[in-house]
Every structure is written in structure tokens, then in C-alpha cells.
Amino acid sequence: MSENPFKIIRPTDQPPENLRKEVMGSVKLLMLLMRFMQLFMADYAMTLFENVRLTGKRDTRPSAAPPAPGSSTKDTPSS
């Protein structure tokens, strides 16, 4: 009985040497991105922004919406 021709034409090429480096490099980059995503998902970023806002703010009274940039207020010295 003759051999299955599909088996005869099966490719035997080996993957190029640099392919491993490329794949593992991309995998490590992806892992890094995933770590950063985890960091943000865990709400560390929001905690950080919250602290920045609190330390920068002296007045603890509830305030209205901040004035639009360019609009005049009472404290603004008139020229």
C-alpha cells in the first residue's frame, strides 16, 4: 500500500531562531501592560488623585462648581 501523500508533503521547516525572542519580548510587554492595568483596576490611581486634590485644597467647606476659566470673580483685582 502506498504512503499517504498528505504525510509526504507535511512541512518540516523549523521556526526561525529570532521568533522566540520576538514572541517572548511581546509577551513580556503584554505582561507589563497587564500589570499597569491591574494597578489602575485596584484603584491605586484614584487614591493618588484623591490625595493630590485634598492636599491642594485649604477650604473644607462644600463648594460650588469651580469658575470657568477666564470668568471674573470678586477676588480678581480690577484694573
Binding site: N4, P5, T12, D13, R20, S26
Partner: protein, 196 residues
């Protein structure tokens, strides 16, 4: 902790054990072991399907990234190898279909009822072709048909395994294999020199 030291992976671990570890925590070294086990098979499959080594290089890279990103979706119901093959076949097919116009008669083939032809029709003809002729026939065949014939006759996948890879039912798989054989045989007859 972000940068804790991890235990060295054991290269004697089974695929499934490595994947289970990777699902618990991402680790490039463990993924590297899986890469080493499957890169040649995936690359050769890509070469077989695309017949282009440069393209196979790019596709292999993308397939391993896709596998890495989707590792959490591997549910351990099938073998890891079958799962990787499934990604390989489907990714190659998607790519080839983007570059080749899909034959429209594939669309309504699932609407057919029972397989009306014997299941082994044209099989003997296909398996008795000269390898050079078969190679030529496969190169001219539509990507989906080529993939199916390679799965069945080169990789010896069972109908059940092809069902898993393609996400199709049994009758749809049998019908597609039959149609692929028919088209291959038609091409073979066209390529045959007159009088032989």
C-alpha cells in the same frame, strides 16, 4: 505585591499544569516552556496552510500572543494542544479569508440535511495522488477546504476533534470534508494532462 520572586518553572510539568499555574499568575518563563513545546508544530501548520514562510513567521507570533492573552479562557475540557491547534487553524483561516474571496456556496451548506453521499467518496482517489500533484491541488484549493483536508489526512484529527477546532456540528464537519474532497478531486482532474 507587584514584583515578587516566583518559583522556577519545572520543565517536566504537563501542559495543563503549566497552564493552571499561568492562570493563577502570569509568568513569561512558564509560557516559554509552552512556546518551546508547540512552536515547531504551529509554525509548520502555518507554513502548510499559507505556503509562505514569512507570513507563517508573523502568524506564529500572533498566534502565541493570542494564546497568551486568552489563557484565562482555557477551560481544561480539551487538551491544551487541541486548543492551540484550534487557535492556529482559525487564525490562519481568518487571515487567508481576508486575502482570498470566500466561495459563497459555503454559506448555505449547513442548511443541507443529511449527507447524501457516502462519507468516503473520493478518499481513495485523494490518497492515491502523487505527492507533487496533491501539493499543487492543495495550493489551488480554497483555504477552508485545504485546512479541513490537512486536519483530516495530515494531522489525523477525528471528526470530534475537528468539531472542537471549528466549533461546528458533526454533520456540518462531515459535509465540509466531503465538499473539500470533491473540490480537490475536480481540481485534480483539471490538472491532469490530457490522455493520462
Amino acid at each position: 505585591m507587584l514584583f515578587r520572586k516566583k518559583a522556577k518553572p519545572d520543565s517536566h510539568q504537563s501542559d495543563e499544569e503549566l497552564v493552571a499555574d499561568l492562570q493563577r499568575s502570569m509568568d513569561a518563563d512558564r509560557f516559554g516552556i509552552l512556546y518551546d513545546r508547540y512552536c515547531a508544530k504551529v509554525y509548520q501548520k502555518c507554513v502548510g496552510m499559507t505556503r509562505d514562510r514569512d507570513l507563517a513567521h508573523d502568524l506564529t507570533h500572533d498566534i502565541f500572543l493570542k494564546a497568551f492573552v486568552n489563557l484565562s479562557k482555557f477551560d481544561h475540557r480539551s487538551k491544551f494542544g487541541t486548543w492551540v491547534y484550534s487557535i492556529t487553524y482559525n487564525y490562519c483561516l481568518d487571515h487567508l479569508r481576508k486575502t482570498q474571496r470566500q466561495r459563497t456556496d459555503d454559506l448555505d451548506e449547513d442548511a443541507h440535511g443529511e449527507v447524501e453521499h457516502p462519507e468516503d467518496r473520493y478518499e481513495a482517489e485523494l490518497l492515491s495522488m502523487r505527492s507533487e500533484m496533491l501539493d499543487e491541488v492543495l495550493s489551488k484549493l480554497e483555504a477552508g477546504d485545504r485546512a479541513l483536508l490537512l486536519m483530516k489526512y495530515q494531522d489525523d484529527l477525528s471528526v470530534k476533534e475537528i468539531m472542537e477546532v471549528l466549533g461546528l456540528g458533526e454533520s456540518a464537519v462531515k459535509m465540509r470534508v466531503l465538499r473539500a474532497r470533491e473540490r480537490a478531486f475536480e481540481l485534480y482532474q483539471q490538472l491532469q494532462p490530457e490522455g493520462s
